[in-house]
């Protein structure tokens, strides 16, 4: 008992404050893309050709990067000799509308907070059931990290629960394999109305790397009505946390 208390003192207080202007992400962190159409060379599609998930498109207005498909690998950054694409250290890349995930220029992403009634219901206490539907355990690891003492989503009233009956919504990861589709839909069905859907990671949003494989649906696309899209492969825990807090109107 005494040793346990001593260890408690030694381990210290580790919860990271949030929101903060700079959460100290590493220099190499790959976050929100910044696209500079002025640097694009006519007829060049080097970035489009290397993109493993067809997330990029170059139109007359310049490059467009669909964060719903992007795995933030940075292959396009390396392929662009002109430096028209950079990945900033901005971790806030969640959005509440699918079309809002298409990045152009240097534009922060938009999240519309829930309406007043929903905020009254879940704004201070949000319980989520997580369903991994083909997730590689990358998104799952990062969703799990929200429960550790550093990110500590509980302090904002956000918790993951075991039963969908206890949940206000579902956080889906993975491209929704054919083998998990029914289980996901049953889980969603089991949640009482009103309920939220959060799609976390490129796979859950669009199928990601597995898009159009016969073994998967393209994420929750066309299966569930999504309230929050959290891009990434996987999204950083702060990306998920920030998205949830904005959705709840807490930031």
């Amino acid at each position: 008992m005494f040793k346990t208390l001593l260890a408690r003192a030694r381990q210290g207080y580790r919860t990271a404050p949030y929101p903060v202007p700079d959460p100290g992400l590493p220099a190499l962190f790959r976050g929100r893309p910044v696209l500079d159409p002025a640097k694009c060379v006519d007829g060049c599609a080097a970035c489009v050709e290397v993109c493993p998930t067809d997330a990029l498109r170059v139109s007359e207005a310049g490059p467009e990067l669909d964060l719903g498909r992007c795995i933030f690998c940075g292959d396009c950054v390396a392929a662009c000799a002109e430096g028209a694409i950079t990945l900033s250290r901005d971790w806030r890349v969640a959005a509440s509308k699918r079309e809002g995930l298409v990045a152009t220029g240097d534009r922060p992403l938009q999240i519309d907070a829930l309406g007043r009634e929903l905020r009254r219901l879940v704004g201070r206490s949000l319980r989520l059931r997580q369903v991994s539907a083909g997730g590689c355990n990358g998104c799952e690891v990062e969703a799990n990290a929200l429960g550790n003492v550093v990110f500590d989503a509980s302090r904002f009233g956000i918790d993951f629960v075991a039963s969908p009956r206890h949940a206000d919504g579902v956080l889906v990861t993975g491209p929704v394999t054919a083998n998990m589709k029914e289980a996901l839909l049953i889980t969603y069905e089991a949640i009482a109305e009103p309920k939220l859907v959060i799609a976390a990671g490129a796979c859950a949003i669009s199928g990601g790397l597995f898009r159009d494989y016969q073994e998967v649906s393209n994420g929750v696309e066309g299966l569930l009505p999504v309230d929050l899209y959290v891009p990434g492969c996987p999204p950083h825990p702060l990306t998920i946390l920030d998205g949830l807090l904005r959705l709840l109107g807490r930031l």
Partner: protein, 490 residues
């Protein structure tokens, strides 16, 4: 015995692999096993006119050799499983993927329920008969943030007589997608075979490319890759120790280890920007040589983390309430581990001296090897302690590797891939031995790409360890193995 022999990540011409009659094949494989060999892989390779070519890869762990042989079967062949249980999951896979019937196999159930097969969940589950027997079915959606799987317990009261584990819910078709590659997505697919083993699987994949193109990584790149792999081991082992503490309700260690796992993930992100090691290991080496300043900062963080890990994990060993819940629970006997071909810390905790870092050191550990420990009791306590001792050794290894002067570019250029070749790549990931095997076509593209995650070998060990246990011990036993669902389902 007629085998083609090669080494880790060294290709041989595909036509050097002998083709023998099925009787000879069975005899050779069983004899090689009896002589101390270990089944690395048994798989279908190709199909033509209703005939299927089967390939066996046998490891000689002492010599560090891989022996290959193949045969042709049409429709059916006498199963190896009855003579040699470690073949059981491979033969189920052959049955599912190639429609070949390994006759006499006691347990020919689907492995992954691919789109061509029966609907998942509609399986013929094993049932224990008896008036007082009851069944508990759990999953695919089960407690917590965890990948899906179905667990069916046949119990007498609280006692589990048999646990059947039915997987496939995570099946994404990765092996199929790798065929015809490499293409622009292949490297990223390798990174998502099992997200918590990004470095392990990506290294196995890159070794395939490097072997096939005849390129070698510089000593510095190899040293950094080994660092990456050991850091991944530390992150997962410390996280699991915390989760084990959580499963017995010992929250201080659960909280500290959860944070420390995060610290290890954050250290990973210092090298590559991603907490899970995405974008770190690249064909020909690593993406970026870390600056001296990054390495200094890493060393400092590692020292702090080591001190806190020692403190947090020390609580586990000193708490009688924890020991009481860890000891004599979920025993995997040495014999069972050997029979099932179990790998990784789960095997070593049961007294099996098997570690690919030592047995197949090249290309990663030729110069320096982490100390390798072997336990004996095979219970949850042994597996927990095994994890901790491996953490200690990995930290020591990283310290030495950083002090060692190394040179060479972070990344060497690769040439074209050898056509018509077979290559096997072995990496000791944190869960155990990862095997990738590729067969190239005349154009140097993947005609076949096989992945064997350690979980593929170890899931049945969990079912075995649960026999006779109280059902409440399942979460604890499960976490002590912490196997991958997607690594198995692919």
């Amino acid at each position: 015995m007629d085998f083609a022999r090669t080494h880790n990540a060294v290709p041989i011409p595909a036509d050097a692999v002998p083709f023998v009659e099925i009787e000879v094949f069975r005899h050779d494989v069983l004899q090689a096993i009896a002589a101390g060999g270990r089944l690395l892989l048994l798989t279908g390779l190709s199909q033509k006119n209703g005939e299927t070519r089967l390939l066996a890869a046998i490891a000689d762990d002492v010599q560090g050799e891989i022996a290959l042989s193949s045969t042709i079967v049409s429709g059916a062949y006498p199963a190896l499983t009855m003579d040699f249980p470690a073949a059981h999951h491979f033969e189920r896979e052959i049955h599912e993927q190639w429609g070949v019937d390994p006759q006499g196999h006691p347990w020919l159930k689907p492995v992954r329920f691919p789109p061509t097969g029966p609907t998942i969940g509609k399986a013929d589950f094993f049932r224990v008969a008896g008036a007082e027997i009851h069944e508990v079915a759990v999953g695919p959606v089960h407690a917590g943030i965890i990948e899906p799987g179905h667990f069916r317990f046949n119990c007498h009261g609280e006692r589990v007589i048999h646990l059947e584990i039915s997987l496939g819910y995570q099946h994404r078709g990765i092996e199929r997608a790798l065929q015809g590659g490499p293409h622009r997505g292949t490297l990223h697919l390798a990174e998502t075979i099992a997200g918590d083993t990004t470095v392990g699987h990506t290294t196995a994949y890159c070794q395939i490319l490097e072997g096939l193109s005849g390129a070698a990584c510089s000593p510095r790149a190899r040293s950094r890759r080994a660092l990456a792999l050991e850091l991944e081991r530390i992150a997962n082992h410390i996280g699991d120790l915390g989760a084990l503490a959580g499963d017995v309700g010992f929250l201080p260690a659960a909280a500290y280890c959860g944070r420390l796992r995060g610290d290890a993930l954050n250290m990973t992100a210092m090298f590559c920007g991603s907490r899970l090691g995405r974008g770190w290991v690249r064909p020909g080496g690593i993406a970026l040589d870390p600056s001296a300043e990054t390495l200094r900062e890493f060393k400092r963080r590692m020292q702090d983390a080591e001190r806190d890990m020692r403190n947090a994990v020390g609580l586990l060993w000193k708490s009688s309430s924890v020991r009481g819940r860890f000891e004599h629970i979920g025993i995997l006997t040495r014999q069972a581990a050997a029979d099932l071909g179990v790998v990784g810390p789960a095997a070593r905790a049961s007294g099996i001296d098997r570690d690919a870092r030592r047995d197949f050191p090249a290309p990663l550990y030729s110069e320096r090897l982490p100390a390798i420990v072997v336990g004996d009791a095979g219970d949850v306590f042994a597996r927990a302690q095994q994890r901790w001792r491996e953490i200690e050794n990995s930290i020591a290894f990283i310290g030495q590797a950083l002090d060692e002067p190394t040179d060479g570019p972070a990344r060497s250029a690769l040439g074209g891939l050898a056509p018509n070749a077979v290559i096997a790549s072995i990496v000791e990931g944190w869960r155990g031995e990862i095997l990738h095997l590729a067969l190239t076509d005349p154009a140097g593209r993947f005609a076949q790409y096989k992945i064997v995650d350690p979980s593929f070998r170890n899931w049945f060990a969990l079912a075995t360890a649960m026999r006779g246990q109280a059902i409440m011990n399942f979460p604890l036993c499960n976490k002590s193995f912490n196997l991958s669902y997607c690594g198995h389902d692919l």
